[in-house]
């Protein structure tokens, strides 16, 4: 019998089911956050919806014990794989004191958790690319074989820091993976007003690095590309640029209304290319998943989401004067 695609990639049934469950968990957490936002319970959401395959496919290709990740705001899927718990994500959504990312100081989506090597991020886009080079440089100087995995959106590839960071990593052959989640929009601005190249991976040659464009709705394709990039990185072949092409299913954020710049049709199309649905289909077709198992998974995920929500809702805010803490080393 022919091997299935995931088997060819060396992924067991258990692993792909795990990936699927994590994708679903990210989605359901995200959907819950929108509900909470619309109910006035949390002030802001910025979504991973439509990006789950790329995020979880990529994260699975990394070494969770030693690699560093520098996720951007949509990367709930990435941080889930790297060990941030649903409770912790909900604490962040609610801006509660025990949010491990920031103690409720930053908006949700501004990830950071040292114990899991999730490097703290900010709002100004693309500043994390040079950081990734710096992390990789530090690891290299110490002789550790860690990879720095950094993500950003398509629009964000036009920032100077993308260029400077990518170039630095390439000159010094640093173990960096730059993954673009190209959803073809920067808020309302469509890709053709953001860049004029065909693929964003066309930029790789200008840095002398390896580049590839893959289907970002297919977790296995992304897994394969990132695994290859990680192997190259560990082998001293330097950084890579992995472009994943996918669709933003929601508006840019809870503050945005995309009907002013996307047609209904286009939004429907994006929804129709839901990576979770297509991965479910793949798993069904390959006999890894069936209705019963799927229901089990969904139930487990929903229970997790409910518990996390309840937990975070009850958790306390930081005290007002806590605003004064941690400006400098104390």
């Amino acid at each position: 019998m022919n091997k299935s695609r995931h088997e060819k990639l060396g992924l067991s049934d258990k692993q792909v089911l795990d990936m699927y469950e994590t994708m679903l968990l990210a989605r359901k957490l995200d959907e819950r956050m929108w509900l909470l936002n619309r109910a006035g319970k949390i002030p802001f959401v910025i979504s991973c919806q439509g990006h789950e395959a790329a995020q979880i496919g990529a994260a699975y290709a990394l070494d969770k014990e030693r690699d560093y990740i520098l996720p951007y705001y949509r990367d709930m899927g990435v941080v889930l794989v790297f060990g941030m718990t649903p409770e912790e994500l909900m604490l962040s959504a609610y801006a509660k004191a025990d949010d491990p990312n920031s103690g409720g100081r930053q908006m949700p989506g501004h990830f950071g958790q040292r114990k899991n090597r999730i490097v703290t991020g900010s709002s100004p886009v693309s500043t994390q690319i040079p950081h990734a080079a710096g992390i990789a440089l530090g690891a290299k100087l110490e002789g550790k074989n860690s990879v720095a995995f950094v993500t950003l959106g398509d629009g964000s590839t036009n920032q100077g820091d993308f260029h400077e960071g990518a170039n630095f990593a390439a000159v010094h052959k640093l173990p960096v993976i730059i993954m673009v989640e190209n959803n073809k929009y920067a808020i309302s601005t469509p890709a053709e007003k953001q860049f004029a190249c065909k693929n964003l991976s066309d930029r790789a040659v200008g840095y002398g690095m390896w580049g590839v464009t893959v289907d970002g709705t297919d977790p296995l394709a992304v897994y394969e590309a990132v695994r290859q990039a990680a192997m190259r990185a560990r082998d001293g072949e330097g950084p890579s640029l992995v472009e994943t092409v996918l669709h933003r299913i929601t508006a840019h954020s809870s503050d945005d209304d995309d009907r002013s710049y996307r047609t209904r049709d286009e939004i429907e199309q994006a929804r129709a290319m839901d990576p979770i649905a297509s991965f479910r289909k793949y798993l069904f077709e390959n006999g890894v998943l069936d209705e019963r198992k799927d229901q089990e998974i969904t139930d487990r995920v929903m229970k997790t989401v409910n518990n996390a929500t309840e937990y975070a809702e009850k958790a306390p805010y930081a005290k007002p004067e806590d605003a004064l803490k941690h400006v400098y080393y104390e």
Binding site: S102, S123, P320, D322
Partner: protein
């Protein structure tokens, strides 16, 4: 006169200037079809087309730098930074270039650009969508920084900025956008950049501030009025270069000065206001020059508890006014 919100005044000023002068155009992130994330440029894309209302790539140094090039060419660009916090990648273009073009070329070239950006907190914006960034720029000759408080001032000053022959940073308080409304003449008028404005005459204490805090201070002043304390309120409007004359006479008038800013205390534009007073009318003072400002922490946190703790409010101003009056 029509009553407009602060952001409607922004929109109207831009629209009228674009109608008046074909050299005026807008560029920034999402300013076109979406009309800006705050809707400051709403309707302009439909009215003037994509050639004059340009959705740019996500790259602030290019937004400023392309604007600067166009301004040198002879156009009148209005560049939008989506949030004041995101002006920082453009600092080199603004300081090394825009602010120095006239001077370095010995008056051969100039750079009539306006860079608009929403600043300020109290809107659950957290660290990077709440900042006051004026102090970073308020030490650069060649640059002007306008921070209006009322819709009337917005319209008149934004028009003046667009017509100005030199680069102007125009910071708009994002909480004021919809909160603050006021009468605005329909027709064309400009207000002088570089001039402060007395927003309330009073005798006992002088408060100097700008932006949203003007409204908070007015509120507090009304309260104090009931208690028999009369507040003189100066709105800086332009925070760089400062209107020294207006500051000196406002300070000298009551001899008791409270300076209010939403920015962190150390190194804010209020330090300069204080220095001007201390240099010029020290002996008119009956009390130390007080500053009420945000605590010296990097920026406003997200959680409501800490955000409120950080943010200036009418109540905090009222308390500071009372303390000063009783000094």
């Amino acid at each position: 006169m029509a009553v407009l919100s602060y952001i409607e005044a922004v929109n109207q000023a831009i629209r009228e200037e674009m109608e008046r002068d074909p050299r005026v155009f807008v560029l920034g992130e999402d300013v076109g079809r979406k009309g800006g994330v705050f809707k400051a440029t709403q309707g302009l894309y439909e009215r003037f087309g994509g050639e004059r209302v340009i959705d740019t790539p996500l790259a602030e140094s290019a937004i400023a730098g392309v604007g600067i090039g166009a301004a040198m060419y002879g156009m009148r660009p209005i560049a939008e930074m989506q949030f004041a916090d995101f002006i920082l990648p453009a600092v080199n273009q603004i300081l090394s270039e825009a602010a120095r073009i006239r001077y370095r070329s010995n008056n051969d070239w100039n750079c009539p650009i306006v860079i608009r950006a929403p600043y300020g907190g109290g809107i659950h914006g957290a660290l990077y969508h709440s900042q006051s960034v004026e102090a970073i720029f308020a030490n650069q000759p060649g640059l002007k920084i306008v921070m209006p408080s009322t819709p009337y001032d917005v319209k008149g000053l934004l028009k003046a900025a667009i017509r100005d022959e030199d680069p102007v940073l125009f910071f708009e308080h994002k909480k004021a956008y919809r909160l603050i409304k006021g009468e605005v003449p329909e027709g064309d008028y400009v207000l002088p950049i570089g001039k402060a404005d007395i927003k309330r005459e009073g005798e006992d204490i002088t408060v100097i501030t700008y932006g949203l805090c003007v409204h908070y201070a007015l509120k507090a002043a009304e309260k104090l009025e009931e208690e028999g304390i009369s507040v003189h309120l100066l709105d800086l409007r332009t925070v760089y270069p400062l209107d020294q004359e207006a500051i000196i006479s406002a300070a000298a008038k009551t001899g008791k000065v409270l300076l209010v800013t939403e920015d962190n205390k150390e190194g804010s534009v209020m330090s300069e206001v204080s220095a001007v007073i201390a240099e010029n009318c020290l002996f008119d003072l009956d009390a130390p020059i007080r500053r009420l400002a945000a605590p010296d922490v990097p920026a406003m946190p997200f959680a409501p508890t800490m955000e409120n703790y950080f943010m200036i409010s009418p109540e905090k101003i009222e308390q500071a006014m009372k303390d000063l009056a009783e000094f």
